[in-house]
Symmetry: C2
């Protein structure tokens, strides 16, 4: 896809994106200087038959998911997206569908308030989208600041993407809610920014599943995250244990001191329509554990579930 075909494709994408795409076509894009805050950057790849199957979702939904997966990494730092670069590898069979993919990505990037500033086109045998996202945070939250005594919270309801994949793998149709969570997740900008500015000590987006991402935070922070299975906010009809393993959620897991949580919880409804749920507590030690006897402070509701996940 060099020369004529490549430039035809670029022109078609530009027509699709309109004023969403700026200054594309030079060797590199210039980033505006920052008046305040910190600039952060991340890259994420979405590969056919690894991250999705075409039989499951539409071309537009492929674009939505690719953009969300990339942008969610910024939300997890407490950052808002500014600039996006998109590298497509495009087999012949995908040429006709590229406009729909572009529309899906464009919708998410527009919603995020970001612009497309560059990219790359290549032909190739397997379709993939590699998305670089650059954003700005007033306060950056890494994975590594969780401290003994912090509470562990999650946004939203978990388990939808995992339930959808299980249904598809079994030859069944997922529920509308589960399918919607897989095909049209949304990065948690407002929630990430509010958690960061309130004083979260560590944050991560749930892409490997709550249990797995809790382990990532534990490893980076040098602490133990104790999760209570009974507190996990699972989606309709989904078991808590399944919800803890469900990946590609793009909800946020954050750690924060109890007084910070109290203050944030009191005004959370002004931040987001999603629930913000305490699911555990941070202890000295290492790794993450999930149990029915998590030692949560200050009398949180605590229903026994009887099962240890790991």
């Amino acid at each position: 896809m060099r020369e004529g075909a490549e430039f035809d494709t670029i022109r078609a994408l530009m027509a699709r994106w309109g004023d969403l795409a700026v200054d594309i076509g030079d060797d590199a894009a210039v980033l505006a200087s920052l008046a305040e805050g910190t600039r952060v950057v991340s890259v994420d790849a979405c590969v056919e038959d690894v991250h999705f199957r075409r039989a499951w979702i539409s071309a537009r939904e492929v674009g939505v998911r690719a953009a969300v997966a990339a942008l969610s990494d910024l939300a997890a730092m407490g950052a808002r997206a500014e600039s996006v670069l998109i590298a497509f590898v495009i087999p012949e069979a995908w040429r006709e569908q590229l406009s729909d993919v572009a529309d899906g990505m464009g919708a998410v990037i527009r919603e995020a308030g970001a612009r497309i500033v560059g990219g790359n086109l290549s032909h190739g045998a397997v379709f993939s989208i590699t998305t670089t996202v650059i954003g700005r945070a007033r306060r950056v939250v890494s994975r590594s600041g969780a401290r003994d005594g912090d509470l562990v919270v999650v946004t939203g309801l978990l388990g939808g993407p995992g339930a959808a994949i299980r249904a598809w793998d079994a030859g069944e149709s997922p529920t509308a809610w589960s399918r919607g969570r897989f095909v049209a997740p949304a990065p948690r900008w407002a929630e990430g920014e509010a958690l960061a500015e309130a004083g979260a000590t560590a944050m991560i987006d749930i892409s490997d599943g709550l249990a797995g991402d809790a382990r990532h935070v534990a490893a980076a922070s040098g602490v133990r995250l104790e999760l209570d299975v009974a507190l996990v906010p699972a989606g309709p009809g989904i078991a808590a244990e399944a919800a803890m393993q469900s990946g590609e959620e793009y909800e946020l897991l954050a750690c924060l001191p109890a007084d910070v949580y109290d203050a944030l919880a009191a005004r959370w409804q002004a931040v987001s329509p999603l629930p913000l749920t305490v699911v555990g507590v941070v202890h000295a030690g290492r790794d993450a554990t999930a149990s029915a006897d998590a030692t949560l402070p200050r009398g949180f509701d605590h229903f026994a579930s009887g099962e240890t996940v790991r």
Copy 2:
């Protein structure tokens, strides 16, 4: 390649890169704020059997080329690299060779004075490397500033990569010089920065061939670039016409006023050991032309080659 295998691979890469890789492992990387200059960003993909064939070059050379191709886009803006993010798609057959790829990329990135600040790993059926590069320029040069009367210059000697590919395609061995230009090109940092700061009006790296990239500059600048075939600095044993079509050179094409060229040419030996060669002139109009009767100003040597390339 999730969970165990993914993290094993990340650990292996980190061990390979040592202090070249910083702060990897969070959702996104934090970029240091700029004291001066402008930040620029670019992304480039390198796909097996599209950009290279494994039979031609070693795994280490694959890494070198991928890094150079990405970093060269910054050189073409007059920028120096600061930060690199690397997204690998890795088929099973490549697992063992990944360290060598990493070494090749690492050597180029270290030479450039940049750091690896993030990336992404995915398994997949076709090996690819998508490299995002972020750099800083004291003066940014786009493709769009060429003006009537400017001279057109190129760095280095052209034609090596094209000659190497032609040899491989014919089942022959390329010359050592041509092979070297294909497997171990070098981004033209010092040259790009010097051209930018001297006052180049437009610049591009020669990835589509001199003739093709001259057209890109002409289109972006709204001018006509008239190239003189006889002036093209071809590598040993390579015809000027072939040198004009040879892609993936990673040499620079720049436009600049004649007085700026004179001043820069007078001190060029302090900038670079490469030749800086006038190959044409900018006129009002559009597109790029190559001929033996280019109307070059001020009595440049002008040998008839008798052939019009386009």
